[in-house]
Each structure stands twice: as C-alpha cells, then as structure tokens.
Amino acid sequence: MIDKVFPSPDDAIHDVFDGAAIMFGGFVSAGSPSNLILALQQRRTKRIIAIANNIGLGDKLDVLCEQHQIAKVIATFAIRASAKRQSLFEEQYHRGEVELELVPQGTFVERIRAAGAGIGAVLTRTGLGTVVQEGKQVLTVDGVDYLLEKPLRADFAFVKAWKADHLGNLVYRMAGRNFNPVMAMAAEVVIAEAEHVVETGELDPERVGTPAVYVDRVVECKPLQIRWYG
C-alpha cells in the first residue's frame, strides 16, 4: 500500500537544498504550512527563493529572515502601507539584502497554475500600462492587448491541508485553500502538513481538494497560530 506519511516535518523536508525555489501555500493566517517553515528554519537552509502570496510581520515566513535564509521573494504582498512596524523582510529589502519580485495576485496564481497544467504562458490584461509590463511581451489577440506572463514553478511546494490520507489526498477547510491546490501542481516535490492524517479511504472523494497524484509527502502537525499585523 502506498504510504506517503512522514514522522516529522524535519523528515519530510530532508532533501531541501540550499538555493532551492520553494512555494509556500497560505494567505496570511489561512492555510499556511507553518510547521514546515519552522523546520526549514531549524535546518538553516540558505539562499531560498521563496514563492508565497505574502511575507510580513507575523508571517512564519518572515522568521526565515532572522538568519538571512531567504535570497529572493516572489510575492504579491511584501511591503506594508504602514511603516510603524516593519517585518524583518522589509528591513532587509530596504537595505538591499534580499531581492523582491512583486506580482499581481491573479497573475501570480495563474502563472503557477500554468506551470502545473502544462500551459505555455498566461495572457492577461492585468499589469498592462504599469511597471509589471516592463520587459514582457505584449500580444494582441483579436484586437485586444495582453501581457504574456510565463509559468512559475519550483523545486518544492510546502502546502497546508486540514486533512490528508496516507495516499496523499488533501482536504482543505474554508479559506485555507487559497494557493495550496495550485502550488501542489507546480513543484517537483510537494510536501503537505495536515492537521489530521486519516487512513486511505476515509476521506470523502467529493471533498478532496488536491488529488493524491500531486502530493509526495504528508506530515501530521498541529497548526501554529499566526498573528497578522495588517
């Protein structure tokens, strides 16, 4: 019987290498693979290219900046409107110590989906006439201009589910879906933390949000609380 369950977050991420591009699911407090991120901090993996919707004060991802583990962030949300409390990432960004590629959120998720779905590029009107357009091809289809945005893939994806089975099926809860299902399609190795791991066959096939084919490893973890400073 196929069994993808690993005993600990550390075991589950054993082969993450320095310089790896890693996708992190989650939107602020919802569906964030916090335990896997903390295991990454423990391992002191270096020069990470972090692909995540948001990095900010209160995000577990920001913790990776403590030891300067992140070289580059590809995100939609990284610099906050208020300068009152800065994240570690913001401090390092303003000092020029980390690179930031800011992507519109719809383009971000669609580029990831394209990578997972074998689509060559995304044609979107989002970003036309803005700095997002810089260096990109504009394509006209039936008289309408679109930006050509390339697929975004990674070496690893860290995702968070509510439930998982031993086969690797994932069930999400409420707004905990967000980027997790598409990221699980777009990385070489997909590692899922789940609040509950159940026997294969116990999940309702109608409720599976990520089919087992996409998931390489599963680890059961109590979710960590995230305090977001919006």
Binding site: F27, V28, S29, A30, G31, N53, T76, F77, A78, I79, R80, A81, A83, E90, Y93, H94, L100, L102, V103, P104, Q105, G106, T107, V109, E110, I112, R113, T124, R125, T126, G127, L128, G129, T130, V131, V132, W162, Y172, R173, M174, A175, G176, R177, N178, F179, N180, P181, V182, G209, P223, Q225, I226, W228, G230
Partner: protein, 223 residues
C-alpha cells in the same frame, strides 16, 4: 485651511455613500482599509454578495467573537459567513475577478487621473508597496469605485491630470467618492455630480487638479 479641514465626510460617511451604489444581487469586492467599511452601511433590504479574493463568496460582517484562522477576508480580518456562501481557491477566485464576474470593486486610492488611471499600490514614502489583488480587481471588475480622501494628509492633490505614482491600471476608474465629492469619470473627463453637505463646488474644484465639468444635476449628497 483651518475651517475647511473639518468640513467633508468622515471615513464612515464615505463608506455609506459608496454603499448607496450597490444594488440587489451584485457581487462586490471591497479593498483593504476604508472600502472594508462599506459592508457595514449596506441597506438591510439589499442582498449583495461580498467576494474576498482569498476565496470566499458571500461573507458577512467582521467576526467579533473568536478568531478562526481559515475564515478571514483579504485584509486578514476574521469574518462571518452568510447563508449561501461558498469557498474556492485563489485560481478560481481570480478567474472570477479577471473574467468580469465581479460587478463592483471598491478600492482605496492614492491618485486618480482625469482619464481614470488609478495609482494605489506604491508608496513613495516607503520606497515600495504591495500589489496584492489590486491590479486584477482594477482591470477585472465591471465597475470600479475609488473611495479615498480628496487630498493627501499633507494637502497634496490626489485627483490629477496625470498620476505621478506608479499605476495600478490605466483608464479603469468609473466613480470617485471622497470626503468632499462624488465624481464620475467619463471618456471626455471628470464630471462632478455631488458635493458633501456644506462643501461649495468651487472648493472641490480648487482641490482637484484637472478641470471638471459640473453636472447640471449637481447636488448635495443625501446621506
């Protein structure tokens, strides 16, 4: 400046005025900050579906009681669910937005040009900013309402001939609602349709860079 600083609408009244634009059955996305307040001022007889780009359709007010990390709006605030709500992932959410299935988006603004260009993501003072869902909402929503204070805290004009800050999207704004006025963006320029109670139209003109046409029906807002 002394007198004029206290005229105009509060943030709550701006939100209330924006809420008047919503109609039964509309799908509405509210941006972070001031726009979030709009939900609180919806007339009780109108059923609107609020969309949060992080994957909820049909959420209700903010949750005052317990915090469920998986039930938040796009600003990270805990929300409640209304009957008929649904959840979906971010790909589906932005398909909904980009595909023109959201009737109205209400966003905050830093600058709006007379051509309807919107700048609302890059903060020059911070040397950076975050795009989030703003560019997709600006381009995808069928109608875009910008809710903001008419001028910046330092008095800088926000409604401009041309935006100086990096754009969120060009030519997308349909309606501007500020503490001083309601302004429609037409193909041939701005159109002043309402002023806040006690605000003379020439004050609005003085605090708006481009020349606006005044509607023949120009009136004081009914709040």
């Amino acid at each position: 400046m002394g007198e004029s600083d206290v005229i105009g609408l509060s943030r709550e009244l701006i939100a209330l005025r924006v809420a008047r634009e919503l109609r039964e059955g509309m799908v509405v996305n509210l941006g972070i900050g001031l726009p979030t307040l709009v939900a609180s001022f919806l007339p009780p007889d109108i059923q609107v579906l609020f969309q949060a780009e992080n994957g909820i359709l049909g959420y209700g007010g903010l949750s005052e009681t317990d915090f469920d990390p998986d039930l938040i709006n796009a600003g990270g605030q805990p929300v409640t669910l209304l009957p008929g709500a649904s959840f979906f992932d971010s790909a589906a959410s932005f398909a909904m937005i980009r595909g023109r299935h959201v009737d109205v988006a209400v966003l905050g603004g830093l600058e709006v040009s007379e051509k309807g260009d919107l700048a609302n993501w890059y903060l020059p003072a911070r040397g950076g900013g975050s795009i989030g869902g703003a560019m997709d909402l600006a381009v995808g929503a069928r109608r875009l309402i910008v809710a903001m204070s008419h001028t910046a805290p330092d008095g800088r004009l926000r409604i401009r001939t041309q935006c100086e800050y990096p754009l969120t999207a060009p030519g997308v704004v349909d309606l501007i609602v500020t503490d001083l006025a309601v302004i429609e963006v037409h193909p041939n320029g701005l159109f002043l349709t309402e002023v806040a109670p006690g605000v003379p139209p020439d004050l609005v003109d003085a605090r708006t860079e481009p020349i606006m046409q005044h509607s023949p029906m120009l009136k004081e807002m009914a709040l």
